[in-house]
């Protein structure tokens, strides 16, 4: 809505005294949101154009930090790794979450406990999830290597080779976050109008046809919300990786968040780290705009 259009509309007069003025109701939230966004964003942007040496500021240096990260092969690598990670995890989670929701949405026994059981992984702190999986993957105390040996296979050295480490962290993410998609889709399924589905069944549509022709189109807005939420969070994944691999071996699991963290706190390059994150934020925003557009089109 444009500003002028908004101005033309008359705000409704508040009823019930000054305390109920809508702007006053908004004020505390506005202050709270501003405190954790406006100043940090301003600071982050300023830091991204500041020259730091060993943690000290030495004036602005224009776009130098951006130029440095543009030429930084580790940064590029981290972008690619993050993109791969987000696409892989979110698509697997969407498929599994959708499947699970369809499975459980039917009338089954023990549906309450089963649902809670399926949701539990997403309630656990990612740090703890990292600990759990480290205990499983570890070659000394874990269960993965003995499992392979039991089948007469060579132990895979899960976290010691590039591909298997990447797959391992993807699996952890899938384990933890499929429940979120499951939960959102399940809620969506339960609020679908039943009439068109029943009508289709009466017309003799098969289960598969029913799903693709009726259920899936109705679910699409819900799915999009779930996917967008998951993508925002997946792009910022930090905790489990910090616990499991610290980005290794090599740089095979080094996501942007890990590399930016190291750049800021290990190498004390606040300016470059801020530039990375501002660039990342810009890309996320772009992604969101595209997603919101898509959602609108779907909703119409």
């Amino acid at each position: 809505m444009s500003e002028t259009a908004a101005k033309k509309r008359r705000a409704r007069a508040p009823r019930g005294g000054i305390l109920a003025s809508p702007y006053l109701l908004l004020l505390p939230a506005a202050v709270a949101l501003a405190a954790v966004s406006v100043y940090p964003l301003y600071y982050g942007f300023r830091a991204s154009i500041t020259h730091y040496l060993y943690g000290r500021e030495f004036g602005t240096n224009g776009l130098t930090n951006y130029r440095i990260i543009w030429h930084d092969t580790f940064f590029r690598q981290a972008m690619i790794t993050t993109a791969k990670y987000v696409v892989l995890t979110v698509s697997i989670e969407t498929l599994l979450g959708l499947g699970l929701a369809l499975l459980v949405s039917r009338e089954i026994r023990f549906s309450g406990p089963i649902r809670v059981g399926l949701i539990l992984p997403m309630t656990i702190a990612p740090v703890v999830v990292g600990v759990m999986w480290r205990l499983l993957y570890d070659s000394g105390v874990g269960v993965v290597d003995p499992l392979f040996q039991a089948f007469g296979l060579n132990p895979p050295e899960v976290l010691a080779s590039n591909n298997s480490a990447f797959i391992s962290v993807v699996l952890v993410d899938v384990w933890e976050w499929t429940p979120l998609i499951f939960l959102i889709v399940l809620a969506g399924l339960q609020s679908l109008p039943q009439e068109p589905l029943e009508a289709a069944l009466v017309d003799g549509a098969g289960r598969l046809r029913l799903f693709f022709d009726h259920t899936l189109p109705l679910l699409r807005p819900v799915l999009l919300v779930a996917i967008v939420l998951r993508m925002i969070d997946a792009i910022g994944t930090f905790d489990q990786i910090y616990v499991l691999t610290q980005g290794g071996p090599g740089v095979s699991t080094q996501l942007i968040s890990i590399y930016a963290y190291n750049t800021a706190f290990l190498f004390t390059q606040y300016g470059q780290a801020a530039a990375m994150l501002i660039a990342l934020l810009a890309m996320v925003l772009l992604l969101m705009i595209v997603a919101v557009r898509m959602m609108r089109r779907v909703a119409v």
């Binding site: 943690g55 000394g140 691999t245």
Partner: protein, 462 residues
């Protein structure tokens, strides 16, 4: 992040052509009101004499922060209480894991929050903490240094360094003591006497025994995780083969034949190392040794406490200690635990008193009697104590022969670049099982180029 004017700011100013006055004014604007001019000048490391004195009236309490490490256990559990009992000064202790403590102490120090009086540090943090004004010059505080402290250990606390290359901006500054060593940790060779009737001296000795091992017995166990851990595996090899992490002109000294040879030697152990070694850190590496599944490893001294503890070890009495193996020389990496006094410390006199007390002869002997790596020669070489803890004399020798890491605030970044390349090389070598020379050469050259590019970009070196 901070406006205080420390010595690095002066150094940078020289390089960029700021005048001293401009920089000082900027620093004074930010912090003059809060800290007063006296400490400001002291932090600048400029004016000849210091007016700060420690005085004898230390009292109250101090807060010490540290990373968690088995080597710190006696310090934490026994000696803090002892200090309180003898002086009446309360000593509070907070510990967290290594990475977190590095982040916490650094941000805490740059902001001078006063949450801590003493930071327990890894020695390679000293340049950054000293140059960044996070810790105070102990010379200026008048801290009395026990002359019996081993030279190589004490060296780690100086900024700019007393020997080796220096940052351009600090080329002409007089070295000052910024941190005091409290545990002389250094890498030593752990070997199982069942397989080595005589102490191994060279890398060939280790390799010849390794060749005879078959799983579940391994000839070598090591740390392979990228970054700092694999560096601890590589450095004793690199040093032994005559290479250098950094040359005296700051150029990388590991991409030549010495460094490549050292890495190839590590690769030759691949068939005789436990599976998953590329993801090993200390906590995976040492159990292999203590469960009796490895014939030898190089590791810091903290692990020595565990070798005779039946709760952790199945090889009680079988492990012995020696200097890290030679090729050209024996070159163990030194990694001391070292204490700095926070610039924001609330109780500097008591912090000084604590460090003087802990490094005194009497306390150091008592410290050695817990099997710990004391910092004085007399304590480490005391025959009565060495009879009980057979690794102590080996530590003293190793410290004397040790080779420090490059002394610069950029060392963590350099370590990360080389340590990432080493880990990638190891992973590739394990997969290919051949072409070791080429793998070593290409990854080391990449790391050398990356380090040179980074140091050039920092602008404080060449």
């Amino acid at each position: 992040m901070t406006e205080d004017s420390g010595s690095i700011e002066r150094g940078k100013a020289k390089g960029r052509g700021y005048t001293r006055r401009q920089v000082m004014a900027r620093g004074a604007l930010g912090t003059g009101a809060a800290f007063g001019l006296g400490p400001l000048l002291a932090a600048c490391g400029s004016s000849g004499s210091s007016t700060t004195t420690t005085g004898g009236a230390a009292s109250g309490s101090i807060t010490i922060g540290s990373f968690t490490d088995p080597a710190m256990v006696p310090f934490r559990d026994v000696f803090l209480k002892k200090f309180t009992a003898e002086t009446g000064i309360q000593a509070k202790w907070h510990e967290t894991n290594y990475n977190q403590w590095y982040q916490n102490s650094k941000t805490d120090g740059l902001q001078k929050t006063g949450a801590y009086d003493i930071y327990v540090m890894d020695d390679n943090w000293v340049p950054e903490f000293a140059a960044g004004g996070i810790i105070q010059s102990m010379d200026k505080l008048g801290l009395k240094v026990n002359p019996d402290i081993l030279e190589k250990g004490l060296d780690q606390g100086y900024w700019p360094p007393r020997s080796g290359p220096r940052l351009k901006a600090f080329a002409n500054d007089a070295p000052q003591l910024y941190a005091l060593v409290i545990i002389d940790d250094v890498e030593i060779l752990y070997y199982n006497k069942d397989y080595f009737p005589t102490p191994p001296v060279t890398w060939d000795d280790i390799y010849n025994i390794a060749k005879t091992t078959k799983p579940p017995l391994y000839g070598w166990t090591a740390r392979g995780v990228k970054g700092n851990p694999i560096m601890q595996t590589y450095l004793p090899l690199l040093n032994a083969y005559g290479g250098h992490f950094a040359n005296d002109d700051w150029s990388p000294g590991f991409a030549g034949p010495e460094g490549v040879g050292a890495l190839e030697r590590l690769f030759q152990f691949i068939p005789y190392m436990p599976p998953g070694v590329a993801s090993f850190d200390t906590s995976q590496e040492t159990p292999v040794m203590l469960q009796g599944h490895a014939t030898a490893m190089t590791e810091y001294t903290g692990t020595a406490h565990g070798v005779d503890d039946p709760k952790q070890s199945k090889v009680v009495g079988k492990i012995d200690f020696a200097a890290t193996p030679k090729q050209v020389i024996s070159g163990p990496a030194i990694g001391t635990f070292i204490c700095g006094i926070a610039s924001g410390a609330k109780n500097t006199p008591a912090a000084v008193k604590f460090l003087e007390w802990f490094t005194s002869e009497k306390v150091q002997k008592a410290f050695a009697e817990t099997g710990s790596a004391s910092v004085t020669g007399t304590a480490l070489r005391d025959p009565a104590i060495a009879a009980k803890f057979r690794w102590l004399p080996a530590i003293a020798d190793a410290v004397d022969n040790s080779i420090p890491k490059p002394r610069t605030p950029d060392e963590p970044k350099m370590e990360d670049l080389l340590g990432t390349a080493l880990n990638e090389a190891l992973v590739q070598a394990i997969q290919q099982k051949s072409g070791y020379t080429q793998i070593a050469q290409s990854h080391l050259t990449t790391a050398a180029n990356q380090i040179t590019a980074y140091l050039t970009q920092q602008g404080t070196y060449f």
